[in-house]
């Protein structure tokens, strides 16, 4: 009862934190709200007219929404890149970052679920995939597993974050025997969400482009590059704009870890490309469409090469200690790797997986304005969630926001 009351205070006390801020904060929030309004407007049109307002069609039945979803699952999974060093090796400077990583995971998952919701044809029937209420086709449907894994992971991260913040709010030491097992279990959970998402495509024999055994490892490797890249930039922004101390050493350590995952990511890509080109079977057609175009359709070609190029340059920047510890080149590397993975997951995975279609038809898919606006709205929502959570978390981490325990 007592706890419940304190928790109530915690919630109420957090409100002013969220509402207070300087001009830039208000401008940022207003900007996000505007994007969300635009997205909401576009989405209302989509609900009214149906998914016909997107450019998806029977041949390419998944597109930009699912691409973004896949990318963001990776971002969410990447949170463990920070959890592992912090909790497993009890490595100091990263500990605060862990909390940030978990906040990032929560907001990424919110966006993931948003993208799934806008992609289904009948949102009014969303309850059909809620366990016990609807009817999950387990164990055979990977999508059903994905629903469980994503929501479980969201719940787990949400619980840990709230509990940690709550503890430091009340000034109490958090209970290690509660937190450590939860955090440790979040490691396999993070791997599993991205693996299950990869299996979702991987298991479809009808789509040879996805039907490759190294798809899941590739997903993980690329996620472990792009997730931390976002975080590195974020940390730098945070230590400029707040009094949060993040040590250089922590940032460089994460950057070093990223160099390994990026190398591994490139190796896996090479392995995939080698197998397709050297064996030269009919499956090659999808990779050919992606990298060289097919029958005059080459809209994806510049994107495909841009993804490879940015990936390689970023890898070099992260590999060389000098450029890894130089802020300018480090940040360029972060942006490049982010771009590389975003293009790869957003365009170069879903579209060539479905083009040419199963009967050899080439339908050229490009997201429509509605899709772009809705996606922008969802990203804005995720950023807003993240911003608001940070607004509460930072003062708590700094020890500036404490509760009424003294009363």
């Amino acid at each position: 009862m007592e706890t419940l009351r304190t928790f109530g205070h915690f919630t109420i006390d957090s409100l002013p934190l969220v509402l207070k801020g300087d001009r830039y904060y208000y401008a940022w929030v207003a900007f996000l709200l505007l994007l969300m309004a635009l997205g909401g407007f576009a989405y209302a049109g989509q609900v009214r007219e149906g998914l016909i307002v997107t450019n998806m069609r029977d041949q390419v039945s998944w597109g930009f929404y699912i691409g973004n979803f896949t990318f963001l699952v990776g971002v969410a999974a990447a949170a463990i890149m920070l959890v592992i060093p912090a909790y497993v090796y009890h490595w100091g400077p990263i500990k605060e970052i862990t909390l940030l990583g978990e906040l990032l995971a929560v907001s990424a998952l919110v966006m993931c679920l948003g993208f799934v919701l806008v992609d289904i044809g009948r949102v009014d029937r969303f309850w059909h995939i809620i366990p016990f209420v609807g009817r999950l086709n387990l164990p055979s449907s990977l999508l059903a597993w994905d629903v469980l894994a994503l929501n479980g992971y969201l719940l787990l991260n949400w619980t840990v974050v709230t509990y940690l913040l709550y503890c430091s709010y009340t000034g109490k030491e958090y209970n290690k025997s509660v937190v450590i097992p939860l955090v440790l279990s979040s490691i396999p959970m993070a791997v599993s969400i991205h693996t299950v998402t990869a299996f979702l495509y991987n298991g479809l024999a009808a789509r040879p482009f996805w039907n490759s055994a190294i798809l899941a490892p590739r997903f993980l490797a690329s996620a472990f590059c792009s997730g931390p890249a976002i975080l590195l930039i974020l940390l730098q922004i945070l230590r400029r704009t707040t009094r949060l101390k993040v040590q250089d050493e922590a940032i460089f350590k994460v950057a070093e870890l990223m160099a390994y995952t990026m190398g591994f990511n490139l190796l896996l890509t090479v392995a995939e490309v080698f197998k397709e080109f050297y064996s030269n079977t009919e499956h090659l057609v999808f990779i050919r469409y992606l990298f060289f175009g097919l029958k005059g359709h080459n809209g994806l070609v510049p994107f495909a090469w841009a993804s490879i190029l940015t990936g390689v340059v970023a890898f070099l920047l992260f590999l060389i200690p000098k450029t890894r510890t130089n802020w300018v080149t480090l940040n360029i590397g972060c942006v490049l790797i982010y771009a590389s993975v975003y293009i790869e997951k957003g365009m170069a995975l879903i579209i060539p997986g479905l083009t040419p279609d199963v009967l050899g038809d080439i339908y050229v898919y490009r997201p429509s304005l509605t899709e772009l606006l809705v996606a922008a709205g969802i990203f804005a929502m995720g950023f807003l969630v993240f911003t608001l959570m940070l607004k509460i978390a930072v003062p708590i981490m700094l020890g500036e926001f404490t509760g009424r325990k003294a009363e």
């Binding site: 029977d58 209420v133 009817r135 449907s141 038809d361």
Partner: protein, 310 residues
């Protein structure tokens, strides 16, 4: 209703009873929250919103739902339609065979199918796709053309391969559906519950034959074009945002008629029958002709066979 079907219905219901009461409770709570989301307002809208999977409905529930849907169709098209619920016949497993040496690619099957099955005319949905292929290359999808449009068919040096749902014995679409909105009935027909499908389109990604089609926009059929003889799991009018597909004309074949495409084919390339009956024409073809299944390496085990009659 055949014994097998009613038994399986009973079994599903029995297995789910505890979940059922919990579901009723949660469903009620959910209804309050999601009332605004329901497509229609009022009691009917709410009932439609909360309607459960076909295979979990009691006979009374199904009858009530059919009445509601027939009423909706009447209001919408100004025309009376009948929504049948004929179950699979016992001892029947439907199979299809198509004679590639005879098919001339006239696409009459495509149009007969559209007339029979009430798919949307605009945006247009067709369940059968006829591929024009080069004889020299054989079945090569990269060289296939689904949009051929010459003055006359067949074209020199070409053959024609119609593709529709292969009613797989091992259907990937059923395996992947997250909510069990699609399944294989005992007579082998793969069906979809249009009132349970959430429109995630996972089944479309999984089908190797492009047999599944999505209602991207509100489906439109002119009242004059609407075929009023329908089946709940087949050609009844569909809502937008759900997937549909060929059902071997379930509304006809479960009453002993041929599918529309078989009936209309001018060359007699299309054969249909009961695989479980050793004396059927389809069995004769399987035993005596050169038969192949499309994309056999994927192990979907189609019940749609291609053969060379001559």
């Amino acid at each position: 209703m055949s014994d097998a079907t009613s038994r399986s219905l009973r079994m599903t219901r029995r297995g789910l009873r505890p979940a059922g009461s919990r579901r009723a409770f949660l469903g009620g709570a959910l209804a309050a929250v999601a009332g605004a989301l329901a497509t229609g307002c009022g009691r009917e809208g709410m009932e439609a919103f909360l309607q459960h999977n076909f295979r979990e409905l009691s006979r009374d529930e199904l009858d009530r739902i059919i009445k509601r849907l027939e009423g909706e169709a009447k209001r919408r098209y100004g025309k009376k339609i009948r929504i049948g619920k004929e179950p699979a016949m016992q001892g029947v497993v439907f199979g299809y065979a198509l004679d590639l040496s005879r098919c001339i690619g006239c696409r009459r099957c495509v149009h007969a199918c559209v007339q029979e099955n009430n798919p949307s005319r605009s945006p247009e949905i067709q369940w059968i796709r006829v591929l024009q292929m080069e004889k020299e290359k054989g079945v090569d999808l990269e060289a296939a053309d689904a949009y051929y449009n010459p003055e006359e068919v067949p074209q020199e040096g070409h053959f024609y391969m119609p593709v529709q749902c292969q009613q797989c014995k091992n259907p990937p679409c059923v395996k992947v559906c997250p909510v069990g909105a699609t399944w294989k009935d005992p007579d082998g027909i793969v069906v979809i519950d249009y009132n349970w499908c959430i429109g995630c389109r996972y089944c479309m990604a999984a089908c190797p034959y492009g047999a599944r089609h999505f209602n991207w926009g509100e489906p439109t059929v002119q009242p004059a074009d609407l075929n009023p003889e329908t089946h709940y799991l087949g050609n009844r009018p569909r809502p937008k945002g759900v997937v549909e597909k060929c059902t071997f004309c379930i509304q006809r074949t479960r009453k002993g008629l041929y599918p529309a495409c078989v009936e209309v084919c001018p060359t007699g390339s299309r054969k249909f029958g009961n695989l479980a009956d050793p004396k059927s024409e389809i069995r004769y073809i399987l035993e005596n002709k050169r038969v192949f299944v499309f994309k056999g390496e994927l192990n979907t085990q189609p019940k749609f066979f291609y053969f060379y009659g001559v």
